[in-house]
């Protein structure tokens, strides 16, 4: 990724009235629909990879598939785990969508060490730092994760990597459980799947009473969303979702994310209402075009509005993406 490519983006942003960052559009419908504007794509490519320090810097336009292949060649990984590996690293981070191994590997925001982004007035800004530990200044990386491009156009990211687990195998469990040190535990109301990672013989020992399984498929369809709810609410929310016509779902136990697909937009809407009943919310990921991406007023909307105004007073970045 060249500095001149970033400077060209900065100049374009400075001169535009409205700017819409765009990657490979695998998550284009996530969140609120975007308004019109100059479409900007971030540079792709590995900028710097320090396998011996477990850190990597990439252009925000780099696909997760390329990132993963690069890390795999050194026995490492970064558990971004998007549904579609064609997604760009910048797109995943802008949408703030954590992967299904969050139970073990933590949320997306904990993987991002440094961000470089173009501000609304066309300056290139760095936040965070390249080391695995850093409290120098305010935590701009965490602010940018999940900001949907509304605070700046991400151009480069430095991520923390981990050694790739020696072995990883999916199992079915007879009932929902948190007994295992699992990388993921998924539950759809009838079946429980457990992903065990690590030493082969530890997996063998742990998996007594479990049945080897294929990796589960998350519910798919034209109308999709993800619910975020306190993990303790999952059993009750699961019962409510089961009672809804036209909704299929799969929950990440211990995390509180529920992947939902509806046969039609109305079914997704009913799932959202169920989420609200349990003090959660549903982020629209696909379809249901009429649905507001967040479905309820954002908490601390006034404070968020002040943050938005501080970075983008003219409201030109990703107009409409966050309902502020």
């Amino acid at each position: 990724m060249t500095a001149s490519a970033v400077q060209a983006i900065a100049a374009s942003v400075a001169n535009a009235d409205a700017v819409v960052p765009v990657g490979t559009r695998t998550q284009w419908e996530t969140g609120n629909p975007s308004g019109e504007g100059l479409q900007i794509s971030a540079p792709a490519g590995i900028t710097r990879y320090e396998p011996d320090d477990l850190t990597i810097s990439v252009g925000a336009g780099t696909s997760c598939a390329v990132l993963d292949a690069t890390l795999a060649a050194h026995g490492q990984e970064c558990a971004l785990d998007p549904r579609d590996r064609a997604a760009t690293v910048g797109g995943v981070i802008a949408c703030g969508v954590s992967g299904i191994r969050r139970l073990r590997h933590g949320p997306l925001r904990d993987h991002v060490l440094e961000v470089r982004f173009v501000t609304a007035d066309g300056r290139v800004v760095k936040g965070g730092g390249p080391t695995v530990k850093n409290v120098t200044g305010y935590d701009l990386p965490r602010l940018l994760v999940g900001s949907f491009g509304t605070l700046g156009v991400l151009v480069q990211l430095t991520l923390r990597c981990r050694p790739r687990p020696a072995h990883a195998r999916w199992f079915r469990a007879p009932e929902p459980t948190d007994r295992f040190r699992a990388a993921a535990t998924l539950w759809d109301g009838r079946h429980t799947w457990i992903l065990l990672e690590g030493d082969e013989s530890d997996i063998e020992t742990q998996s007594s009473g479990l049945y080897p399984s294929e990796a589960p498929q998350l519910p798919d369809g034209e109308h999709r969303g993800r619910i975020s709810v306190a993990p303790g609410e999952l059993p009750a929310l699961g019962r409510d979702l089961d009672a809804l016509p036209g909704a299929r779902w799969c929950a990440e136990l211990g995390v509180g994310t529920v992947h939902v697909a509806g046969d039609d937009a109305a079914a997704l809407g009913r799932a959202r209402a169920a989420a609200h009943d349990h003090d959660g919310w549903l982020l629209r990921e696909a379809g249901a075009a009429e649905m507001d991406g967040f479905g309820r007023p954002l908490p601390n909307a006034e404070l968020m509005r002040r943050v938005k105004d501080a970075f983008d007073p003219a409201r030109k970045l990703a107009p409409g993406r966050l309902p502020l």
Partner: protein, 388 residues
């Protein structure tokens, strides 16, 4: 000045959700003690954990030896109730995994009191690992120990904790608490691995192999919990032990890439020598988080200037090696004016904008973190009655 040390109630523990709500004055170690009977602990464990509060940990985004694998404070704080500078009370974050909109909780943690005051904190509790092994590797040179750290990370092993102590530290600790550290080694590594049985023993084998390849003179594995506890007691008593060497110390905190540890540590000792000062090193090596201590006696004329100059040179060396100014202690006033070493005017302006969004008048912990002039065209003033 607003003091929260007496807001020290543990409000609620939910062992199933593994969440505790605490007031900011609760001591870090008291929290872990209060939940240990449930097989849980609070993962961030600063060396000062007997004395530091959760509120302070949140303010500085504190680390600790076990943050190498477990992550620092921000990874363990789910929600914070905050009084903003204008008196508004808000809850940032929540028990749901994601929040709609911006991660204001993430901004607040580590903001050193400049975005408001935490009054209640929801923290994640971590299950105790089923198996733990604690190792002490001894080396006859600093280089060999530092190479082992680099080799361990590069070798695909991510221990739960990976701490380094030099001979001056281990000597002081032995005199103070008798932790069982070898007195003839130039440096030791305290390495802890945890997880499931076979994974732990595989990691122990890997670390032993890497240590011996890099010239370790001995590798010892704690035989039982008592020996483990003693090894850790030594590490966590290090700062107390230093009083036996000299009455004063200046503790630094910087981070470098793990690949640069050998050369940076060499340079740290050279800088101290050049200023006729003694440096001692006890630090979170696995994170690359250096804590060079310069010990001195303030009654010695002119010593302050030398200590300060040596400290500045050490920080400059760390930055030149691709490091950062602080890994867990924060910026405050001490490093505020060094921020331009790491950040451009545009970078600092973005940070100032974020701070302004929380506290437009700059009333919360004024004049900390960002140097004067960070915001283009700013007018900085000390609010009436503020203590700085």
């Amino acid at each position: 000045m607003i003091v929260t040390t007496r807001m020290n109630r543990l409000l609620d523990v939910d062992p199933h959700a593994r969440v505790a709500w605490v007031e900011p004055g609760v001591l870090n170690l008291d929290l872990t003690r209060a939940v240990s009977h449930l097989g849980l602990h609070y993962a961030p464990d600063p060396s000062s954990q007997q004395a530091c509060t959760i509120g302070g940990n949140v303010a500085t985004n504190a680390g600790g030896p076990h943050c190498l694998a477990a992550g620092v404070t921000s990874a363990h704080v789910l929600a914070v109730d905050v009084v903003l500078a204008d008196g508004e009370v808000v809850r940032l974050g929540g028990l749901a995994p994601d929040i709609a909109g911006y991660d204001l909780r993430g901004c607040f943690v580590g903001s050193e009191g400049t975005m408001g005051i935490a009054t209640r904190v929801a923290v994640r509790l971590t299950p105790d690992p089923p198996a733990v092994a604690t190792m002490l590797c001894a080396f006859d040179s600093i280089d060999a120990a530092a190479s082992t750290v680099t080799g361990t990370i590069a070798g695909g092993v991510l221990p739960a904790a990976l701490e380094m102590m030099d001979a001056r530290i281990t000597a002081a600790v032995e005199d103070f608490v008798g932790a069982g550290y070898p007195r003839d080694a130039q440096a030791v590594l305290l390495v802890e691995v945890d997880g499931l049985d076979r994974g732990v023993s595989a990691q122990v084998d890997a670390v032993r192999e890497i240590a011996l390849t890099n010239g370790a003179v001995s590798v010892r594995i704690a035989a039982d919990d008592a020996e483990r506890a003693l090894l850790w007691k030594g590490r966590k008593s290090a700062f107390g032990a230093i009083a036996r060497i000299a009455p004063d110390y200046y503790l630094h905190d910087a981070v470098v890439p793990r690949t640069r540890l050998v050369e940076v540590l060499r340079r740290v000792y050279e800088i101290a020598d050049a200023h006729q000062l003694i440096t001692m090193n006890v630090f979170h090596a696995g994170d690359g988080n250096l804590h060079p201590l310069i010990v001195f006696d303030r009654r010695e004329p002119g010593v302050w200037e030398r200590v300060y100059d040596a400290g500045s040179e050490i920080l400059t060396t760390c930055i030149a090696a691709g490091g950062v100014l602080t890994g867990e202690h924060g910026v405050g006033i001490e490093k505020r004016d060094l921020m331009p070493l790491l950040f451009s005017p545009d970078d600092l302006d973005a940070q100032a904008r974020l701070r302004d969004a929380f506290d437009p008048d700059g009333a919360a912990n004024p004049l900390k973190v960002l140097p004067r002039g960070s915001r283009c065209g700013e007018l900085q003033r000390v609010p009436d009655g503020a203590w700085i």
